[in-house]
């Protein structure tokens, strides 16, 4: 009890090591190593689905062509939006390193809005499919389409939550721990680029082939 209360009192004094400076043995700050390990696990998560897609598609006597049944123009627009949001998040990071919090926040907001735009377009696509009674249970093509784009969409949503958090805490964090905040934006950006990267492969595989 006492020890617990004591720890709570001292909470603000605890310095988390290597949030800014690289750890000597790893060469990177801990957050960066953490996000890369997380992304490695993400590669395996999506990899399992790509693996499933290969198995289902190569075994299927008939497979739908994405360009015949899915909305390619909307997905192309979404590709541009996601690529654009990858640029805005690195620009946010670059501006924070330059000491320009205002521009950094603007680019973070743009990134968040790109994520929102992506989700709106995705929901329009889903809505159209649902209205035509095309569900994951319709066939293996739609099953893989919904699972893969759905999991990807959840990642976009997750990124948006983090960007919203980074925006809301920007002033306080940047004033108190500028370098740590900048690193937070960097590792969130690494995650966001990964989400972009997954879409770069999902788009041609599901929509164009």
């Amino acid at each position: 009890m006492d020890a617990h209360a004591h720890a709570a009192d001292d909470h603000h004094e605890i310095e988390i090591p290597y949030t800014v400076h690289p750890r000597p043995d790893t060469g990177v700050y801990n957050g960066k190593l953490g996000i890369w390990l997380f992304l490695a696990s993400e590669v395996m998560l999506f990899g399992a689905l790509f693996s499933t897609l290969i198995l289902l598609r190569t075994s299927a006597p008939v497979w739908l062509h994405g360009w015949q049944v899915l909305n390619v123009p909307l997905a192309t627009l979404n590709t541009f939006i996601l690529i654009g949001s990858s640029v805005t998040v690195v620009l946010a990071w670059a501006n924070l390193r330059l000491g320009n919090l205002k521009k950094g926040k603007i680019f973070l907001l743009l990134t968040l809005l790109c994520g929102l735009g992506f989700m709106v377009i995705k929901s329009i696509e889903y809505g159209t499919k649902f209205s035509h009674h095309l569900y994951p249970s319709t066939n293996n093509f739609y099953a893989t389409y919904y699972v893969m784009t759905g999991l990807h969409g959840l990642h976009v949503l997750g990124g948006m939550v983090v960007f919203a958090y980074l925006l809301l805490t920007a002033d306080k964090w940047y004033a108190e721990k500028r370098d740590q905040y900048t690193n937070r934006v960097e590792v969130t950006g690494l995650y966001w680029h990964f989400v972009d990267l997954v879409w770069i492969f999902l788009f041609p595989i599901l929509y164009l082939l």
Binding site: L55, T76, S86, A94, I200, L209
Partner: protein, 167 residues
């Protein structure tokens, strides 16, 4: 490595050139990003270096946009499935490499990150190789498995490009 490939003229008319502060002097050619080790050795936080990075990011964005248009255009040709898959994957790999190399700055990352990625790529490759291997094996040992190769059970090597997408 890409610094020398970026013409200085490119920055003219670029609204982000002076992002984050007053206009600066032209970049000095002798500036080497690796000489600064303030926080993360992988990054140079000097304003000139960051501005060079910003220009590079915008060029990568342009390349990604062009490649997106190319991959959509290729798909409009409705090539044979085998070629279409190869071309689409080739373009996607180039795009993905650009994102990883520049946006995720893997061009200048620490050894430990590379080690993590080498392991990841290996296991990811195993996962993709698995279904291929299974499918080709099944096609050899179980003729009926490959329903798309119409009545050719003696075919020893499956033409993987034409599988599964027949009309």
């Amino acid at each position: 490595m890409t610094d020398t490939a970026i013409p200085h003229d490119h920055s003219h008319g670029n609204p982000n050139q002076h992002a984050g502060g007053p206009p600066r002097e032209p970049l000095s050619e002798s500036e080497h990003p690796t000489h600064h080790h303030d926080h993360d050795p992988a990054h140079d936080n000097s304003p000139d270096a960051v501005r060079r990075e910003i220009r590079r990011y915008l060029m990568v964005f342009g390349a990604l946009a062009v490649l997106t248009i190319i991959t959509v255009a290729i798909s409009q040709l409705h090539l044979p499935t085998h070629q279409a898959i190869l071309l689409a994957l080739a373009v996607a790999i180039v795009k993905g490499s650009l994102v990883a190399a520049f946006f995720m700055h893997l061009l200048s990352e620490r050894k430990l990150i590379y080690a993590v990625l080498v392991l990841t790529v290996f296991f990811f490759g195993m996962m993709l190789w698995g279904p291929w291997h299974h499918r080709n094996n099944a096609a050899e040992s179980w003729p009926g498995y490959d329903q798309s190769s119409k009545g050719a059970p003696t075919t020893s090597t499956a033409p993987h490009g034409s599988t599964g997408s027949g009309h």
